[in-house]
């Protein structure tokens, strides 16, 4: 009986160690792929046409969802903060609160999550389909480096477009907050925008720019990694797509905490 228990523990231990080893190897592969993709961005040959196509796919085609998300987030933020600030007679600070929340936190995170859902999953599905239909093998046989041809343009496009989309989302969100402040909270237009202008300092802009850069890199690299590691035919493509959204979203949210922590140390709030 004791030997059976020992065998069970041994087998569980072995399985656990295999899982840990597989996870460590996956992280190593992911880091290597991302590093190679970034290196391919700055060394020739570069695929400019692919980069423009991806910028269109990630940026232009995500514009509508990012604008809608930003607008409604800013509006609801103004409504919610007014309800809380009224208790302290601080309704005039709504503009300041909406601005800081959008630029420092909600704009970057929500934009990244929306783009992950729309584009990160698409990257995983597209590259996954290319893997299962042997198109990646065909690329290699025909003399192309899949990392240079497929991964680098996606990373580059995400690094350029996610910060731009975030700026648009922030702007639209603050504008949405102004609409609620004027028509619902009866604050004046000038007062709201002066409050926004006074609230914004360089530290906010740094945080609002660094985060989308990091999130853009995460969502595109996870999408590419999951896609290129697809196995198991069309069923595997579906699995990679789901995984890429889950992993990228969780990584974005958890990295948000650490980036905030580091940036608050480097650029403390006055």
């Amino acid at each position: 009986m004791a030997s059976r228990t020992q065998l069970l523990i041994l087998s569980l231990g072995r399985r656990l160690s295999q899982q840990v080893k597989a996870s460590v190897l996956a992280v190593q592969d992911y880091v290597l792929l991302t590093a190679r993709g970034l290196a391919a961005l700055v060394t020739p040959p570069r695929y400019q046409r692919e980069l423009v196509t991806q910028m269109d796919s990630i940026g232009v085609q995500s514009l509508s969802i990012v604008v809608l998300t930003g607008m409604f987030t800013g509006m609801v933020l103004a409504l919610q903060s007014a309800a809380s600030l009224d208790a302290f007679g601080a309704r005039p600070y709504v503009g300041r609160l909406v601005c800081i929340s959008m630029v420092r936190e909600l704009g970057p995170v929500l934009t990244a999550l929306m783009v992950t859902g729309r584009v990160g999953s698409g990257m995983a599905a597209e590259l996954g389909s290319m893997v299962v239909t042997q198109q990646i093998d065909a690329l290699r046989v025909l003399g192309s480096d899949p990392v240079r041809k497929l991964v680098a343009p996606r990373l580059g496009a995400a690094l350029i477009m996610v910060p731009l989309l975030t700026v648009i989302s922030d702007t639209v969100g603050i504008f949405g907050g102004s609409l609620i402040s004027i028509f619902n909270l009866k604050l004046s237009w000038e007062f709201y925008w002066r409050s926004v202008g006074n609230a914004m300092v360089i530290n906010d802009l740094v945080m609002g720019f660094v985060k989308p850069l990091a999130f853009g890199l995460i969502l595109s690299s996870v999408g590419c990694y999951m896609g290129l590691n697809t196995t198991g035919g069309t069923q595997g493509v579906g699995l990679s797509t789901t995984r890429s959204v889950v992993v990228a979203s969780v990584t974005i949210l958890s990295s948000d905490f650490f980036i905030t922590k580091v940036l608050l140390i480097l650029f403390p709030v006055a």
């Binding site: 042997q134 198109q135 093998d137 065909a138 690329l139 290699r140 046989v141 025909l142 003399g143 192309s144």
Partner: protein, 293 residues
């Protein structure tokens, strides 16, 4: 002095320097263009176990075997898409089993591959697919690329399909486009991975005739991986003959007179048979007999 110190410390003498390696791609004209020596490969189970064979320039090797026997793996090893666990693989003198990915490009330029389902790039037109390698090479002008692509599409009988998307093509047309894409850079060696699987007999014959044409008219060395016996024997027994100024396919009825084509049969990663089509057909091996029946 150094020798004395090494002797005192019990160190083994440094081995003599290895003879200089021939430059990549160097091959003696008498040597085979493709050579496998005791190649082993395993993933979660053994895929290839001690596979050895040679392929002389201008000849054809037909690799037969059931699903999962390791046929496609051999092609992937030749292309350097996989690395063997043990053994050596030489393609035109280059040791592809031990070459880095970035060094494989010159070797791959000598190879043309027709993938099982064509593996055409969905986002590119038929013309762009066929001309992909030439554009990627960067040394060919746009006009020349178009001329070569149109020539190749004409060769496979799909000249009017230049601007179509792969999604608009039938299975047989996709294979023919894949064929044109593989041929456009005029490779020395053509690899066919189940090029006729899933096609109707008439379309299969069109594909096998193309394989024969490339072999007989351009002297291209070929490896054909298939489990379709009919198509394998078609390739072996068909040859191109000139008739009224045109090349037409002719069939040799007597298999014992055939030359230039060797059959190899794999069974669970092991070479079960190597020989001529006639030797295969007359084999007394129970597995081969069952496979052929």
């Amino acid at each position: 002095m150094r020798e004395t110190i090494r002797a005192v410390l019990g160190l083994t003498p440094r081995p003599a320097p290895a003879p200089p390696e021939p430059p990549p791609g160097f091959r003696d004209p008498d040597e085979p263009i493709i050579s496998f020596r005791d190649v082993h490969l395993s993933f979660d189970r053994p895929i290839l176990q001690g596979v050895s064979f040679d392929l002389a320039p201008g000849t054809t090797k037909v690799i037969l075997g059931g699903s999962g026997s390791g046929k496609t793996t051999i092609l992937r090893l030749i292309l350097g898409l996989l690395k063997p666990d043990a053994g050596s693989i030489h393609v035109d003198g280059a040791d592809v089993g031990h070459m880095a990915e970035e060094d494989l490009r010159p070797v791959r330029m000598k190879l043309g591959m027709v993938f099982q389902e064509g593996a055409l790039f969905d986002s590119l037109t038929v013309g762009e697919n066929v001309g992909y390698r030439l554009v990627e090479d960067g040394n060919v002008s746009e006009a020349e690329v178009e001329a070569r692509v149109r020539e190749m599409l004409g060769f496979v009988g799909l000249a009017p399909f230049y601007g179509r998307m792969p999604s608009e093509l039938s299975g047989g047309q996709r294979r023919r486009v894949a064929f044109a894409r593989a041929l456009v850079a005029r490779p020395q060696i053509m690899l066919y991975d189940e090029a006729t699987t899933g096609l109707d007999p008439i379309t299969s014959t069109t594909i096998t005739d193309l394989i024969v044409k490339v072999r007989d008219l351009d002297g291209v060395t070929s490896i054909l991986v298939t489990h379709q016996l009919r198509d394998a024997f078609n390739v072996a027994r068909t040859f191109m003959a000139r008739e009224n100024g045109e090349f037409v396919p002719k069939v040799v009825e007597d298999l014992s007179t055939l030359e230039g084509t060797e059959f190899m049969m794999l069974r669970q990663g092991v070479v079960e048979f190597k020989g001529t089509p006639h030797e295969l057909q007359t084999s007394e091996d129970p597995y081969i007999k069952e496979f052929l029946s």
